[in-house]
Amino acid sequence: MFLAWRKFVNNVMLGLTGVCTLITVSALFLILGYLVYNGTSSLDLNFFTKLPLSPGETGGGMANAIVGSIEIIAVAALIGLPIGFIAGIYLSEFEDKGFAPLVRYTADLLNGVPSIIIGILAWALVVVPMKHFSGLAGAIALSVMLIPIVTRQTEQFLREVPMSLREGALALGASKWKMIATVAVPAGSKGILTGMILGVARIAGETAPLMFTSLNNQYWGGMNQPTATLPYMIYSHAISAYDDWHRQAWAAGLVLIVIVLLANISARFVLARGISVPRG
């Protein structure tokens, strides 16, 4: 009798866990679904080629935001990827007592800092001395977010290279740095590359740190001027009252999410492992 009750509870509760899974997984599909539904109808050639027009005029696009985002992300990657990569090598191969755990701790700390606070840092360090907003300030803010991600991923995947491989190279007479360059890094390259792709995909979608660094621009911007970026455009257009701007926000959202998801999926196929990158 009691057994029947327990069996009943068993089935109900396990069924509920299935429902929980259904709800959480469907969230992803709902999000994608809405973006595709609302975004594809708004995507046209104008979106990719034209500059934004004044509100009320139709036919404008976000060409400058797309290029602006690409430029800023590229510079951020140029700064952040090498620094993170080499710092990761240090943590894995050369770790000094006391110093290495400190670096590790601060890297994790930076990783967890909300992105708007990184924006404040970049504003104080770049915008104020330069006396104007710029794409460079935005790129620096994003690179600060990129560095801890790449550092920890590089370290982690270098650590996973088996000692036997390393010792083999050393036994053959290779110096330490040669061993790192020719054996350890190539062996861990899959994971390291994944970490880099995921890191860049993460910063590609960030808006908050750009709000007071690269600001926005009606025209083409650049590293030395305020620049339009895709995430910021989505924000400013979504909160407005103009239907045409809403339409463009959906289109921009669709473009952004396609890029980010493609990067994520391809990175994971590179690695064939499930590791999420915590974001703040």
Partner: protein, 336 residues
Amino acid sequence: MKKFPVALLGLLTVSVAVGTAQQITAAGATFPAPIYQKWFGEYHNAHPDVQVNYQSIGSGAGIQQLTSGTVDFGASDMPMTNDQISKVKVHPLHFPTVMGAVVPTYNVPGVSQELKFSGEALAGIFLGTISKWSDAQLAKDNPGVKLPNEDIVVVHRSDGSGTSFIWTDFLSKVSPQWKTKVGANTSVSWPVGLGGKGNEGVSGTVKQTPFSVGYVELIYAAQNKMAYGAVKNSAGQYVKASLDSVTAAAAGAAKSMPADFRVSITNAPGKDAYPICSFTWMLIPSSFPDAKKAATVKSFLQWMLTDGQKDAPGLDYASLPKEVVAQETKQIAQIK
């Protein structure tokens, strides 16, 4: 990793090539943003090597960015106070550009007639003392209109706004309770309501929220086909915002404009005057480190005072009275 430097070089060349155009950065009020953006677009068409990047981030932000030197000039619907002026390294000159109206825009499903608001009604709504659309004061202002018994959703600005200044300036003049409790400024401690960012955000929120009321510049309500009400002026007439009623409000001020152009025209006298309107100013530094920039700004201002004014009526802004234009033309010479 090898592709990065090449691609980057390509992009940098593009930005350098484009960067030879003269880019001027300005930021500030959302109140006149539609006409500013039209002006800068037209000016760019006439002078392709000049690009003015105007960011409508609010009057408060415009003043701040001007003070910290991160923009070339600012824009605000509230004239700078003496204290604010003293904090700017290069003395800023106020240039009125157009006059505009701030209207109470509302979204009340089921009500198709145009609503009228007295000063007391607006003050009460924004103080929170009038909380339902069926309130007696609103019924008094709108005889014969059936107003629903729903909560009023108040929408105000979340950012530092010249539009907020114009609105609170008016409320302070018609309601002693408002004056003591809240006061007039770009950023106040709102007793009730949701915050929207910029005129764009407030109009967006009102448009999407049933039974809401907010205050926006006339063009935002008109462009988005939102309903806006008539307001009772100092002569006791309910006047709806329009080019004529705004021009009527400015008539008195035009004759006695102070030398620095800092003046308020809310609750202006006259039976046709719309009570909630204002000049809006571009805040131009009196000297520029770059002579080329100074020349460009001066020629833009010249253009703005003559050709630019013709664009105003099409966007529901009132063009400047000719006495003011004459006075401003003299001020342009002060820019170095």
